[in-house]
């Protein structure tokens, strides 16, 4: 990587996710590519954030260790620790796995395009962009609201902790400073200047931790939204593609209208590929090369095999009187479809490789946290601060899991429904090649594309349902124990 990044003109996925990437950089995550500024300064900035976060979480851990005798304190502190473990795990995961994130973002730098389908492509791209922006704003809003709620609820209720009095072996309440999180401080954070500093630092910590963890999840879900809209685009152009393919062999009235989106004297290349723009990923050569990742399927402009009697000397007459150029257009359309589908498959595989382990760690931590929360929930005895905090934690944890489960589920549904689009057009009028093409596509789509948490589980609504079921089961078991 060069030491100074020029903010070049980014296209594709990077451009769409620029708000997200900028937010990640400004909040201190290690996402340093794609934005301007000196790399060294960015690293220093992130390291400072990292130092503060590590400091806070170690103080939380020390507090946990110091108050481990009383069961209620222990479980409450453990839940807090696990909550913030999420955030630091995602932070460190991104820092370690930067290269994979950049690689995934760069996969869609330059996609193939076809003049006949450019309009549909642009439309679905616009839909994907709108959804990604909406999701980003919604999640950021929720994060800020949660942080505000957390800070606000600090001022309600009594600011005590439970401890065991060693003389009488009973549980007593000990006063602690009124701060959002129960932490150990080497200085007296009771009042005065130190109280203000500690309070401000804690507010910063709460806000930034939540922002870190949610930004990573939003990036993952945005990738999934993009992949789903690409699949919708492919489903949308299946019908005209089949019509085009049928026009090669069967007489179809009005076949000239099929080509109407192409202007008469267009000199556009049938398939535009990134061989023409070698400078697009110049600064990424160290990390990722589009060519290598595409398996170099794209060579010099490939004229496709023409099947119509090459050996008989001269092309066979087309029943619809299509020109040679229009025939090439049709064949290149099929190639466009298949290559675009493979591109989406590659993107989804890269997403799974990049973020799968993070999801696994998230689910691991969430499971333990939800078990403990179920235990805490059995001690709710009325509408008070305690009930609100437990329900808040519970809702937040379940919402995080629901967030990526619903998008994972949508990907599974979309990828296996491509076959439905293939079936819904006049494929029965097409040629043998067209029908075999439909068959191969249908066959491939029977195995739905899914994101798995490092192969341990599949991210879908079934996962969410099983998590919810497990929480209820633990709750029931623990209520019985009471």
């Amino acid at each position: 990587m060069t030491s100074s990044m020029q903010p070049g003109k980014y296209t594709g996925l990077v451009a769409d996710l620029m708000p997200n990437i900028r937010a990640m950089r400004y909040s201190g995550l290690f996402m340093h590519s794609f934005t301007g500024g000196s790399l060294f300064m960015k690293r220093v900035y992130s390291s400072v954030h990292m130092f503060v976060i590590v400091l806070h979480i170690s103080m939380i851990l020390v507090n946990l260790a110091m108050n481990a005798e009383e069961v209620n304190e222990l479980s409450g502190n453990t839940i807090t620790t696990l909550f913030f473990t999420h955030c630091i795990v995602k932070f460190v995961y991104l820092a370690i796995n930067q290269k994979n994130f950049y690689r995934t973002l760069n996969i869609w730098n330059q996609a193939n395009s076809h003049p006949l389908f450019a309009e549909s492509d642009a439309r679905y791209h616009g839909i994907a962009l709108a959804k990604m922006r909406k999701l980003f704003f919604l999640v950021m809003l929720t994060t800020f609201a949660s942080a505000t709620a957390w800070t606000t609820i600090t001022f309600f209720g009594e600011s005590v902790k439970f401890a065991i009095d060693h003389n009488t072996n009973e549980t007593i309440k000990v006063d602690i400073p009124r701060l959002p999180i129960k932490m150990f401080y080497p200085w007296n954070a009771g009042h005065g200047m130190f109280y203000m500093i500690s309070f401000v630092l804690q507010v910063y910590y709460v806000l930034f931790s939540m922002v870190h963890s949610n930004l990573c999840d939003v990036m993952f879900c945005s990738w999934l939204i993009f992949a789903c809209e690409q699949l919708q685009h492919l489903k949308g152009i299946m019908k005209p593609l089949m019509e085009l393919s049928a026009s090669l062999d069967t007489y179809r009235p009005n076949s000239a209208a099929l080509f109407r989106s192409l202007s008469a004297n267009s000199k556009s290349e049938l398939i535009h590929n990134e061989e023409k723009d070698p400078t697009a990923d110049m600064d990424m050569t160290g990390i990722y090369s589009t060519k290598a990742d595409w398996g170099a399927q794209f060579r010099a402009p490939s004229t496709l095999q023409s099947f119509n009697g090459g050996t008989n000397g001269g092309p066979a007459a087309n029943p619809n009187g299509l020109t040679k150029k229009q025939e090439m257009m049709v064949r290149s359309a099929i190639k466009y479809w298949v290559e675009r589908h493979k591109h989406v498959v590659r993107l989804v595989a890269a997403i799974g490789d990049t973020y799968g382990a993070a999801l696994l760690l998230h689910m691991l931590i969430s499971t333990i946290m939800l078990t403990l929360l179920a235990y805490q929930a059995t001690k709710i005895n009325g509408v008070n601060v305690y009930a609100f905090t437990v329900i808040g934690y519970l809702g937040y944890a379940l919402a995080q899991v629901f967030h990526f489960c619903i998008f994972g589920n949508r990907l599974i549904e979309e990828s296996s429904s491509v076959m439905e689009a293939a079936y819904s057009c006049h494929w029965y009028d097409g040629s043998e090649e067209a029908k075999t093409f439909v068959q191969i596509v249908c066959q491939q789509c029977q195995k739905a594309m899914s994101i798995s948490g490092a192969k341990f589980f599949t991210v879908s609504l079934d996962l969410f349902a099983s998590v919810l079921g497990a929480v209820v089961t633990y709750f029931m078991v623990l209520v019985q124990l009471k």
Binding site: Q305, R331, V338, I440
Partner: protein
């Protein structure tokens, strides 16, 4: 690299064979017969079991019996591996031979990428074997050292679960002799399990070779059909048939591995699961220091095959995507149908199976872990009520 990939591979196998030879289990030899060393290993296992049973009967302590039962899990695994190794030595040799044949065939291709892929797979295999060996070494050394340290510092003698008849363990001399015998037997057990696992690792890391070579073949094929009109149908057909034959080779390999290893894998996964549950129970009811060590050793025991099975599953999934990568839109309908047939088979590739019903991968291990967790909760519930 100046050495050929098949040489590289043979070197790794030679190390594995050396370990196996120590135990008389060199099944890679086509002329392998049961020999003296094999008999010695078997008798060692039998003697161990005999001593344990006599000790348990003599002490009449049910907690001690439970602890001994946990260790019996390892005994069952080693007996199973031993049996499969001896009985199916021909199959092991056949699989090994087919792998060597692939190495020898593809290193001679003019395209240098084949050779470099084969070298990379050797590197991968070497890493996997080193990791497994380190794990076993750490486990065995830990289990040997722990009782020694504990008995040095706290004057409490912790033993494995057999006493040698005729040696009185209450005397200091007798105790140290018993400890020494335990250490030796643990070392031999570790070596034996490592030998068995090494063979399985060697075999289950080979699908990567198949994947890499298939990917290269498909890439060459795509380039072949990308240039229009100059290729005759018979040539295209020949290359396509070559790819399909190689895929069949892969399927045969998986089938043979499954056939050979199914009992070993099932026994290992189920016995590891049951032993973990028993260990947790014993740890909760009695005070057994070695139990913590055992629990830590049992977890990799459960997961190592599941992780290897996941690798195989990943390779099958990669093959499915690679077959879809064939530029079928450049082919005629006749060839497209053949690609279709291959594609539908790749979606239903057999993977390694546990007990014939569950696939051997980490999601099965997760299920087992969840069951262990539930059983533990029930046990805690039960014990607290008691």
């Amino acid at each position: 690299m100046s050495i050929r990939p098949s040489e590289n591979f043979s070197r790794i196998i030679r190390v594995v064979r050396n370990v196996a030879v120590c135990l008389g289990m060199d099944t890679y030899d086509p002329n392998y017969r049961v020999n003296k060393k094999t008999a010695m290993t078997l008798s060692a296992i039998i003697i161990y079991s005999g001593f344990t049973i006599t000790t348990v009967i003599r002490l009449k302590n049910w907690k001690f019996a439970l602890q001994a039962l946990v260790l019996a899990g390892f005994v069952i695994q080693s007996l199973n591996k031993f049996y499969v190794g001896v009985r199916h030595s021909q199959k092991i040799y056949q699989i090994y031979h087919s792998v060597i044949k692939i190495y020898k065939e593809f290193e001679n291709y003019p395209d240098p990428r084949y050779a470099s892929d084969l070298h990379q797979s050797c590197r991968r295999l070497r890493t996997a074997l080193i990791v497994a060996s380190i794990m076993y070494a750490v486990g065995v050394v830990g289990m040997i050292m722990l009782p020694i340290f504990v008995s040095l510092f706290t004057d409490k003698f912790t033993f494995m679960h057999f006493h040698i008849p005729g040696i009185d363990v209450t005397t200091e001399m007798g105790a140290w002799i018993t400890q020494a015998v335990h250490a030796v037997s643990m070392a031999i057990a570790g070596l034996g399990l490592l030998a068995g696992d090494s063979t399985i690792i060697v075999f289950l890391m080979q699908p990567f070779v198949f994947v890499d070579i298939l990917r290269l073949k498909i890439y060459v094929f795509n380039q072949f059909v990308d240039i229009p009109g100059t290729r005759s149908e018979s040539e295209i057909q020949r290359m396509l048939v070559d790819i399909m034959k190689f895929h069949q080779e892969y399927l045969r390999f998986i089938f043979r591995c499954n056939d050979l290893l199914s009992s070993i894998v099932s026994t290992q996964v189920s016995s590891a699961g049951v032993c973990i549950i028993m260990t947790i129970f014993v740890l909760m009811t009695s005070d057994w220091l070695g139990g913590y060590c055992f629990a830590i050793v049992l977890i990799p025991n459960l997961y190592i095959y599941c992780i290897l099975g996941t690798f195989v599953e990943n390779c099958s999934a990669t093959i499915m995507y690679e077959v879809y990568n064939i530029s079928f839109y450049n082919l005629k309908a006749r060839h497209q149908r053949q690609v279709l047939f291959m594609l539908s088979k790749t979606q239903r590739t057999e993977m390694m199976q546990v007990l014939g019903v569950m696939p051997l991968d980490v999601s099965t291990a997760l299920q087992v872990t969840k069951s262990i967790y539930s059983v533990t909760m029930v046990m805690i519930n039960f014990l607290i009520i008691k």
